[in-house]
Amino acid sequence: MKPERWLDCRVLVTVGTGGVGKTTVAAALGLAAARAGKAVLVMTIDPARRLADALGTGPLGHEPREVPRERLRAAGVTGAGTLAALMLDTKRTFDELVLRFAPDPSARERIFANPIYRNLTDALGGSREYSAMEKLRQLHVEGKYDLIVLDTPPASHALDFLDAPRRLESFLESQFLTVLLHPAAVVGRASLRLFRAGSELVLRGLERVTGLEFLTAISEFLLAFEEMLGGFSERAREVSRLLRDPVCGFVLVAGPDLQQAKSAESFWQRLQTEGIQLAGLVLNRVHTWPGAGAAPVDDPREAERAVEWLARALAERAPDLDALGSARLLVAATRAQAALARRDAAVRERLEKALPLPPEAVRVVPLFSEDVHELEALARMAGLIFGEREGV
């Protein structure tokens, strides 16, 4: 998919391993869409305070915060486009769910009093993924934004959110929960036969290991969803459908080193198994060769010639400087840059081969000398992703 078409999506999801600049790319995509006149929301999961400073939104919180008009104008948003950002707050998302969907006040109180629930705030693995999906669904249904850009959690857990709704659904459908919560009620009932032989034994075994208290707390926590939502399964399926719908585009972000390229490949395979189409790849922080053409192959004799010529030229222009010493340092720096550019070009080639993307769907963003966090730098990155040419 051509990058211009990415912006026609209603949801863009940036995925990739940690440290490749996913959040920054998500913000740049959001800015590009705002420049195209869209109302955009960027949802980030990591606390990226500096990004919030750059956007001028003030500290990001659970509610979307608008980037001030004058900031946007300075970053090239001339039309009606708007840009807002929010940082996902797991606990608040859950609290909202409970307040909205608890069937009655006593159910609500029971959930709020659940020890697992009280400690939920990001402390328990997986809860961020659940709430990210819920928040995305909610905002998408509200339809206030033309485009929502979702920045996913980093590292190996990054794709767990794809599974989160399905895992929960599958569990709620199992009857393990019922036995766990009401063991006495089940015993003796005909439905007991529905369980695989040994369920009771399983429970007794687990009780010996953990104490039933803990299992019950966890189960009540999970059951809270079902109680509250009734149709949680339907919601989970909705999210699942949304992620696989053509209105949703996945943009893979990768860095140029070999490990990062390898994890980009495994991300792509995982997306494939999940039945998700990849819209494109942003190869970020790539070392480029500043001169004409490709970076030259390393050749010590060539380097020696370069040193001699530079030293002579420097000696003529600034006789008081250490011409030879300077020339050596400069050529060494240039050789190092060439080596990096060659390495990154090789990784790029490898990724282009591994991922079945049309050439125009692979976008390369060079490593900027300084961190990208100012809005202007984001605008520059957006320009590079969307095809404006630029010298480095």
């Binding site: 075994g205 001169g291 010529w309 340092l329 720096a333 190092a336 480095v392």
Partner: protein, 333 residues
């Protein structure tokens, strides 16, 4: 006063964490290599399903198609790796606790229980820590620690903190019973700075440095001991005297006259400027870490050959050793 190296190697559990992409795995591998070479029998543990460490540390694989193993694998003298998979650790744990293998198998094989596990939050973290505790406390026939030093390639900041805070959550939830007793033991190990330290790896860039400072504050709140900050991938400065005048002179040259692309004034100036700007930026973040992390970071250089095999790990380990042995001073906790 002993040097930092001696202090680190006297610990039992070193948790290596930091922002994603900062090179935690390379640093964990280098630490393992270093400790093993210093004569300490070391187990380097990776979490989850990827098996990167054996290749990184140079294990010989019998066949390319071999399944990654999940028991300790010898990768050199004194050096072992382990891939810790929560599902397998849970099976082992249940078998140990129940003393009836069939019952443990019955539980793990139960379809309802498997669905429960797939959805239930927290248990992976808990069983991972439990397994680490078990590894630390295991002894050989003569009553010596089976694994004197365990280095963990821990998850990145967010999930790393989830892992470290799980015992606190459990202790808040469960007041009695075997789970409580086991979690108490795990927590005692984690919060004992004489046995356990958290090492934070960062790059000298704004977002990783911010995240490192927040991470260290949270680790401290959780009551764990902190080892030094490790600044990884630090680029060498361009020690060019009179840089501005030199670059101005180069810029006045004509590209067409250059005898080689390596002398092209455009490439030369851009490469040098890039290095100068990066070095200034990195020096600034190094100073900020010293100030705000109250720890002089260990500096590991960016290695041109990369760290994707035993040679790279050995090079990184050598630099780490130099940094550690030059440094004395008590590890802060």
């Amino acid at each position: 006063m002993t040097d930092l190296m001696t202090q680190l190697l006297a610990r039992r559990l070193l948790l290596v964490t930091g922002k994603g992409g900062t090179g935690k795995t390379s640093v964990a591998a280098a630490l393992g290599r270093l400790a093993a070479d210093a004569g300490v029998k070391t187990l380097v543990v990776e979490l989850g399903h990827a098996a990167v460490l054996p290749d990184l540390l140079g294990a010989e694989r019998a066949r390319e198609s071999d399944e990654p193993r999940s028991d300790p694998q010898r990768v050199g003298a004194n050096l072992f790796t382990l891939r810790l998979v929560p599902e397998e650790a849970l099976s082992e744990y249940l078998a140990l606790q129940l003393r009836v293998r069939a019952l443990a198998r019955g539980i793990v094989g139960n379809a309802g229980f498997r669905r429960f596990l797939a959805a239930a939050p927290g248990w992976r973290e808990l069983i991972t820590l439990g397994k680490l505790w078990h590894l630390v406390t295991r002894e050989d026939a003569r009553g010596r620690a089976l694994w004197p030093l365990i280095v963990i390639d821990a998850p990145a900041t967010g999930h790393g903190l989830s892992l470290l805070s799980t015992p606190t959550v459990i202790l808040d939830t469960v007041r009695i019973g075997p789970l409580r007793r086991n979690t108490d033991l795990v927590q005692a190990l984690l919060t004992d700075a004489a046995r356990t330290l958290v090492l934070t790896v960062t790059l000298l860039e704004e977002l990783p440095v911010n995240e490192t400072l927040e991470l260290r504050a949270r680790v401290r709140e959780l009551g764990l001991g902190l080892g030094p900050v490790i600044a990884n991938g630090v680029e060498p400065p361009l020690a060019l005297p009179d840089a501005e005048r030199v670059l101005a002179a180069v810029a006045s040259l004509d590209s067409a006259d250059a005898p080689s692309p390596l002398a092209d004034p455009i490439s030369v100036c851009a490469s040098a400027r890039h290095r100068l700007v990066r070095a200034r930026m990195q020096a600034g973040f190094l100073a900020r870490l010293e100030r705000e992390a109250e720890s002089v970071p260990l500096v590991l250089p960016w290695l041109e050959q990369g760290v994707d095999g035993p040679d790279g790990v050995a090079a990184l380990a050598a630099r780490l050793q130099t940094e550690l042995t030059q440094r004395s001073g008590e590890v802060r906790s």
